[in-house]
């Protein structure tokens, strides 16, 4: 996508000064109610339709996941998990995978190219491909394994939360098309409240551990799930229990950056002032003749002369 004038920018990658932020907008969120999903993949189709992207025809790998993974041309994919409940019944968990639009986005933190990743004031995290250099740092930074680099143009792609639609007051294409109402969109606050109602309903239906997935480790997300089993999110095709930006990434993009530059600058300055104080070490300008034999015996044991 390109950075949209109608969406104010909260932060941009590789930028240390404030972004334009005099206006405040409502934080938005997409709520995916897994208990309502029937796995029809209409959202996948709508995503491809709206964004005008077509993946290559892949191979059936023996499960319903099709394509089997996210790609540069597939920004959302249904992940199917079959599991047996304690009562011996089949439970089919279908999770719509895609960018979570973290409040604290690891991709944005890791990206070295100014403005290649932006977070709008409404919370959407968007890749601005024209500034993307194809280094893959966003993949390194993402706690959810979402961004994919295109083999075609070496640019990173992922779900935009239909930032172009949202900027003109529309809902994302997947929300628009979902036939069961499993995907809803609105202000984050409304979605949290709506989720609470859904959780209450699920509790009444016997799902004691139902809950909202809005992980605090990444500051909350702007794509949230209602899970029947919120105590074990990992059963939903490996949804991380406590996602956060890896400490390795935080160290690399946090402390190391300023410390490294300061150390380099300090080293240069130290050299300069050493030269100013001590002066050059110039053999040919020395008084006397250093090739004299008596001074040639200087050895290990010599302490003072």
């Amino acid at each position: 996508m390109s950075s949209l004038q109608t969406l104010d920018v909260k932060q941009r990658s590789a930028t240390t000064s404030p972004s334009p932020s005099i206006r405040s907008t409502v934080e938005v969120a997409k709520l995916i109610d897994i208990s309502k999903c029937i796995g029809c993949k209409a959202c996948q189709v709508a995503c491809g339709e709206w964004n005008d992207i077509r993946d290559v025809v892949g191979h059936n790998v023996g499960v319903y996941d099709n394509p089997s993974d996210l790609t540069a041309n597939t920004w959302t994919v249904m992940r199917f998990t079959e599991r047996e409940t304690e009562g011996g019944k089949l439970e089919w968990l279908i999770r719509k995978d895609g960018c979570m639009h973290c409040a604290d986005p690891g991709c944005l933190k890791a990206c070295p190219s100014p403005g290649a990743i932006v977070q709008y004031a409404n919370g959407i995290v968007d890749f601005i491909e024209e500034h993307c250099i194809g280094c893959g740092s966003c993949i390194t930074g993402c706690p959810f394994n979402i961004p994919r680099i295109s083999r075609q143009d070496n640019k990173a792609y992922k779900c935009t939360l239909c930032s172009d639609r949202v900027s003109v007051g529309m809902e994302p294409a997947c929300v628009k098309t979902c036939p069961t109402g499993a995907i809803t969109f609105g202000s984050k606050q409304d979605m949290v409240e709506h989720a609470a109602e859904r959780v209450r309903d699920l509790n009444e239906r016997g799902y004691q551990n139902a809950g909202l997935y809005d992980p605090k480790g990444v500051g909350g997300t702007h794509v949230m799930y209602v899970l029947q089993h919120a105590d074990t999110p990992q059963i939903y095709h490996g949804l991380p229990r406590d996602p956060h930006i890896s400490p390795l990434v935080s160290l690399w993009k946090g402390a190391l950056k300023p410390i490294a530059l300061l150390a380099m600058g300090a080293a240069v300055l130290t050299g300069f002032f050493h030269y100013v104080k001590v002066g050059p070490n110039d053999a040919d300008a020395d008084e006397g003749d250093d090739t004299k034999p008596e001074s040639a015996g200087a050895g290990v044991k010599q302490e003072e002369r």
């Binding site: 590789a14 250099i133 390795l248 190391l256 150390a263 050299g271 002066g279 050059p280 090739t291 200087a298």
Partner: protein, 210 residues
């Protein structure tokens, strides 16, 4: 022993010098392209390489090139860089080194303790940068490694590069500070006086050889 203090002694052969400067030029290019992607304040350096994508493409190749050129130099200088007891003594007397009291230091061979330490830091850094760099080299190799390793390699790469650049800053300053060193690496020769002052053991051997 009477030697004309102004007599010239060959310190570096033609191929040694060209090898050194090939490494130096490639190192500067690799370092600048790497720094440009390391800190946003230095992103403008990507302009030297044709923009962001080109910097991302070129940096790993520059890195491999500098390692290749360095391997040749490493083999050449390996034998002269074995650290011995008098080198440790030299390093312990770093205050005398910085204070320009070189006459208090033990006589050194072709390289002093500081130069030898620098050599080994460079060997380790080159190796570490090569290995970690391959792990997150996109689009070819990164996909073969688990994300944990990619993250670890990226962090180590940046940290080692920082140590390496600091080492090179010291190396360059030492060459500026010790007059005659740049000439030695540019033209290959040093005066007998220079050699006796800075590398007495090596100078005596050279003079003996004639």
């Amino acid at each position: 022993m009477s030697v004309d203090p102004n007599a010239l002694i060959q310190r570096y052969s033609d191929s040694e010098r060209m090898n050194h400067w090939a490494v130096a030029i490639l190192f500067v290019l690799a370092a600048l392209s790497g720094l440009s992607l390391f800190h946003p304040a230095l992103f403008w350096l990507t302009n030297l390489f044709g923009g962001g994508p080109w910097t991302r493409i070129l940096h790993p190749f520059l890195g491999v090139a500098v390692v290749a050129a360095f391997l040749v130099e490493m083999v050449r200088f390996w034998g002269d860089n074995r650290i011995e007891e008098h080198d440790r003594q030299w390093l312990r007397q770093w205050r005398d080194v910085l204070g320009n009291r070189e006459h208090k230091l033990p006589a050194t061979g072709r390289y002093n303790g500081g130069q030898k330490a620098l050599f080994w830091v460079m060997v380790v850094c080159m190796l570490a940068l090569l290995i970690t760099g391959v792990v997150f080299w996109r689009p070819w190799f990164a996909d073969y490694f688990p994300i944990f390793l990619v993250r670890l390699a990226t962090l180590i790469h940046a940290a080692v590069a920082t140590v390496f650049i600091l080492t090179v800053i010291i190396h360059i300053y030492a060459a500026i500070w010790t007059k005659g060193s740049v000439r030695a690496m540019m033209r290959g020769t040093v005066s007998a006086r220079w050699a006796m002052k800075h590398h007495r053991a090596w100078a005596q051997e050279k003079i003996k050889q004639g």
